[in-house]
């Protein structure tokens, strides 16, 4: 005989304002199987929880319904309370009177009626809840980090230093990501490579880290604690074991005119190459697309000059399978393609460049060894116009969101430029200056006040190239309320930050959600910012939203902490919401086996004592089952059910709505 307790929360005024809580409590008390129905100002408060615990003990409750906010908010809180009072936590359910009722309705009688229905639904459900006990699954204490930029490096280092194994996968030939391409970093102007390269070396040399550059994750199966991951290592055509990184090969390579990805196409690279001198690992790879030997079958210079015979033209892609307990996704960002802006030359004006190109121009290791020289004619620009929000905050042509870091790096660019070209003129067009962050606004002020950058609030309507090579920049000064025209030698567009191309396919492979802009979705925007909704997969860096270096590093460390927490136990407890097969009535049509998204249902042979097969049935692997219940709905003989959402429970819920 069920003994249900119902607890109605006013949530201060939030529920009480539109729902007559005492009336709901009274109605609940009348419901069959309910032995107590009470209301209270704040159920989640300590006295509120005490009230529930006391009732569980005194009234020997077999089930509890807390009618309050969304279960996404406080279900764990109340279930913990129930457990503390000795009631199996899965015998407690929540009715969502706040998000689903009081906040969305005004009419008090109607809202109260609906609230009573919502309570009744849960009362009927909870009467049919069974005790459930967390399932423990073994944890493989190795983490996979996808992406070798600063976020991935930081996450890998923190996990490795925490004493756990890490597999760090980077798709390009070297670690470093975008940060390695920056000249200086805001707001301190310390040299990017000087602070990054030691980390790159450290992570590569770390005994707990397996570094896999020039590799991509191609398949992910399994679940938190034991993911099965397939990684494709692209053919390098250079044997890393024997290569000493002497560089003879790329000095001699005859194919010299390939636009360097690292230098944002401002400089060339060879067909056999290391992306940049400080690359880690500092071993070249051959770009099969451009290598004469691999395309035309003649050349072979690198093989001839290689002192250790490390060149292997017959190298092929290889696949490795690894088992990991957690995954950190740090796939980063790229710049939005501003060729969509016809008014800015549609990408056809050589001297209209993006932020990374300016970084490479300003970088001592760049194609101009740190001198600001414009691409078209190598002249030192006397006037440089910087345009912020290029693609950002432009729902019609670009992206609707603010890219967050452009205000800061544009300020940095003006300072770098003014330091290198003292008599040069740096003009910035901006919509707003968003410099929230430690020392950030001071940095922008410095650009304006100390380094004399001219900030103009307004948009640029058109850029065109006059026959004398000047870039005519027409815009509006919306503070002065006048149109402005500037004759510039170089224009730098602060292009929007967008997720990597293919971010969506990666998400589908991982089974994580992404938003309309293809940024990966965190489990909760405030309270779970580094977890995804998929257990065991965490986010770090700009793949989740535009971020600067400190934010990326902070999130990476947070993700690492989550991983280490997960790895701190040999086994982890999972919500016991799993499907079960009634083997007596299963006829093994295999529909469920075909259906299961997790391949969690297997053929199981029922044998007699002599080991003769009696018949075969479907059986659920608890470890693999994630509890979606899709199998339950395809079973014609209804021989599968889902703990926590059994047919009996759901039908009882439906019945209450008659």
């Amino acid at each position: 005989m069920a003994r249900v307790g119902v607890f109605i929360c006013h949530c201060g005024e939030n529920i009480g304002r539109t729902v007559d809580c005492p009336a709901v409590a009274q109605a609940a008390a009348q419901m069959p199987g309910v032995v107590t129905g009470v209301d209270y100002k704040y159920m989640c408060s300590d006295p509120g929880q005490q009230m529930i615990k006391q009732a569980i003990k005194d009234k020997k409750l077999t089930g509890v319904v807390v009618a309050a906010c969304s279960p996404r908010m406080h279900e764990p809180t109340f279930r913990r309370a129930a457990a503390e009072a000795g009631l199996n936590p899965f015998l407690l359910e929540m009715a969502n009177l706040r998000e689903h009722c009081s906040w969305v309705h005004e009419d008090r009688p109607q809202a109260t009626r609906k609230a009573i229905d919502l309570v009744r639904v849960m009362v009927e459900k909870v009467k049919r809840n069974g005790e459930l006990h967390p399932i423990s699954v073994p944890v493989e204490p190795t983490a996979l980090v996808i992406g070798g930029g600063i976020a991935g490096i930081q996450a890998a280092l923190d996990i490795a230093n925490g004493g756990k194994k890490v597999i760090l996968v980077e798709k390009s030939p070297s670690l470093g990501g975008h940060m390695a391409r920056l000249s200086e970093t805001f707001p301190t102007l310390d040299c990017s490579q000087c602070i990054l390269t030691p980390r790159m070396v450290e992570v590569a040399a770390h005994p707990n880290v397996t570094l896999m550059t020039y590799s991509e994750v191609t398949k992910v199966d399994g679940f938190i604690g034991s993911f099965e991951v397939t990684i494709r290592q692209k053919a390098r055509y250079v044997d890393p074991a024997t290569c000493t990184g002497c560089g003879a090969c790329y000095q001699k390579c005859p194919v010299k005119k390939i636009p360097s990805e690292f230098d944002a196409a401002l400089g060339p690279r060879t067909a056999i190459y290391t992306p940049f001198p400080q690359a880690v690992p500092n071993k070249p790879v051959i770009d099969a697309e451009h290598c004469l030997m691999l395309t035309k079958g003649k050349c072979g210079v690198c093989a001839k000059v290689c002192p250790t015979g490390a060149i292997k033209y017959d190298d092929t892609d290889t696949e490795v399978k690894v088992k990991v307990g957690a995954i950190v996704v740090a796939t980063g960002f790229e710049l939005w393609d501003h060729s969509a802006y016809g008014e800015y030359g549609g990408g056809r004006l050589k001297d209209v460049i993006d932020g990374f190109q300016f970084e490479r121009l300003a970088s001592a290791s760049g194609p101009t060894v740190g001198e600001i020289r414009r691409p078209s004619d190598g002249q030192v620009p006397q006037t440089v116009v910087f345009i912020q929000c290029c693609g950002s905050r432009d729902a019609s042509k670009g992206v609707p969101y603010c890219s967050k870091i452009c205000c800061m790096y544009t300020a940095k660019h003006t300072i770098l430029y003014r330091h290198k070209v003292h008599d040069g003129r740096a003009v910035v067009f901006y919509m707003d200056v968003r410099a929230g962050g430690k020392g950030y606004d001071e940095f922008v002020r410095r650009a304006i006040e100390t380094d004399g950058a001219e900030y103009i609030r307004g948009r640029v309507s058109r850029i065109y190239r006059r026959t004398d090579g000047k870039l005519i920049v027409k815009g509006a000064d919306t503070l002065a309320g006048v149109p402005v025209t500037i004759e510039a030698d170089l224009v730098v567009l602060a292009d929007a930050i967008v997720p990597r191309a293919g971010a969506d396919t990666v998400a589908q492979m991982l089974g994580i959600a992404y938003d309309t802009n293809r940024f990966y979705s965190e489990a909760h925007p405030k309270l779970r910012p580094v977890e995804t909704a998929t257990a065991g997969i965490f986010l770090a860096g700009a793949c989740q939203a535009p971020k600067d270096i400190p934010d990326s590093v902070a999130q990476a460390s947070a993700a690492a902490a989550k991983v280490l927490g997960l790895f701190s136990q040999p086994e982890l407890e999972r919500e016991p919401i799993v499907a079960r097969v009634n083997e007596a009535s299963c006829v093994h049509c295999r529909a469920c086996i075909e259906t299961c998204p997790y391949r969690a249902i297997e053929d199981f042979d029922i044998k007699d004592r002599q080991g003769n097969l009696i018949r075969t049935v479907a059986r659920v692997n608890e470890g693999l089952c994630q509890g979606c219940g899709t199998c339950v709905a395809v079973c014609r003989s209804n021989s599968i059910d889902l703990d926590g959402f059994t047919d009996e429970q759901v039908l009882a819920e439906i019945a209450t709505l008659e």
Binding site: G342, S396, R462, Y464, R466, I472
Partner: protein, 288 residues
């Protein structure tokens, strides 16, 4: 022979006579039948939409309703402003049944939305597809032209379809077909001062001067336009601009339809080339 509705609007009866003449002549060569909408009324351009939204929609609505009533499925509005008003109205109506109902109430005429509005550029490209291309017997021998779209022929994402408002290219194929060389220039969509032609002439002088200057800079021998306002600002104002000490300019401003007519071997007079302020007959000499 294709029948296309024709909405000349006020300009083509006034400052834009050449546009009217050349369009009709071109249509005749191409074997298209232009059927002027009976009892058409003002499109409301430049004035109505800054005064009264309902009026600004009702005026074009009535014309559209008439066209539909008279069995026209396509209507050519050569004047860029008329085109913008008519097409803009059609788009608004298609979006809002309420607005359509309201307009039906005001004008006491139904409109089902079956009429398609053509700009002069769409019209010319259409004729080319339907045989005009074959009739261009007198190409202009590489005349260097700067295609000038101004504002109304390039803007409004849903009004001007299939072209980049910031870098329009819709005229280029036609001009090439007519034997012109399109020069790359920067002012194809800059403002000529259209709306201020009368009220703030000096502003127009500066703006139009900049356009003329860039075209000359780019080596253009003529500016090709599809808009009567642009035309009058650039053609009629050149003296004023020169008098203001800017320039000197001496650049023929011709309509797309005039160029196509010439290429089709029509006499310049029939196209109204002799009616321009800046001598445009020299352009005709190029065609043979």
């Amino acid at each position: 022979m294709t029948t296309i509705g024709y909405y000349p609007g006020c300009s083509l009866h006034g400052t834009g006579r050449e546009l009217d003449m050349s369009i009709r002549a071109l249509a005749e060569v191409a074997g298209a039948d232009l059927k002027e909408i009976e009892d058409w009324n003002c499109c409301g351009a430049s004035a109505a939409h800054s005064l009264n939204h309902d009026l600004a929609v009702a005026l074009p609505y009535r014309t559209l309703a008439l066209a539909e009533e008279q069995g026209l499925t396509e209507v050519l509005a050569p004047c860029a402003a008329c085109f913008s008003r008519l097409k803009g109205t059609a788009v608004r109506l298609s979006r809002s049944p309420d607005l359509a109902a309201k307009m039906q109430g005001i004008t006491e005429r139904p409109y089902k939305g079956t009429v398609r509005i053509l700009s002069i550029i769409e019209f010319v490209n259409r004729l080319l597809k339907e045989g005009l291309a074959g009739k261009l017997t007198a190409p202009l021998g590489g005349l260097k032209v700067a295609p000038y779209y101004g504002c109304l022929l390039a803007r409004g994402k849903d009004i001007v379809e299939g072209d980049d408002a910031e870098q329009p290219t819709a005229m280029e194929a036609a001009l090439a077909a007519a034997g012109c060389a399109v020069v790359p220039w920067n002012f194809a969509v800059e403002c000529c001062g259209g709306g201020f032609s009368m009220s703030m002439t000096d502003a127009v002088v500066d703006l139009s001067h900049a356009i003329l200057a860039d075209a000359e800079e780019a080596g253009a021998q003529a500016i090709v336009t599809g808009c009567p306002m642009c035309h009058s600002n650039l053609d009629m104002r050149q003296q004023t601009i020169n008098a203001a000490g800017l320039g000197p300019h001496d650049l023929p401003i011709v309509y797309l339809s005039e160029i196509m007519g010439l290429a089709a071997g029509l006499e310049p007079e029939r196209l109204g080339l002799n009616r321009h302020f800046v001598d445009a007959m020299r352009v005709a000499e190029r065609s043979a």
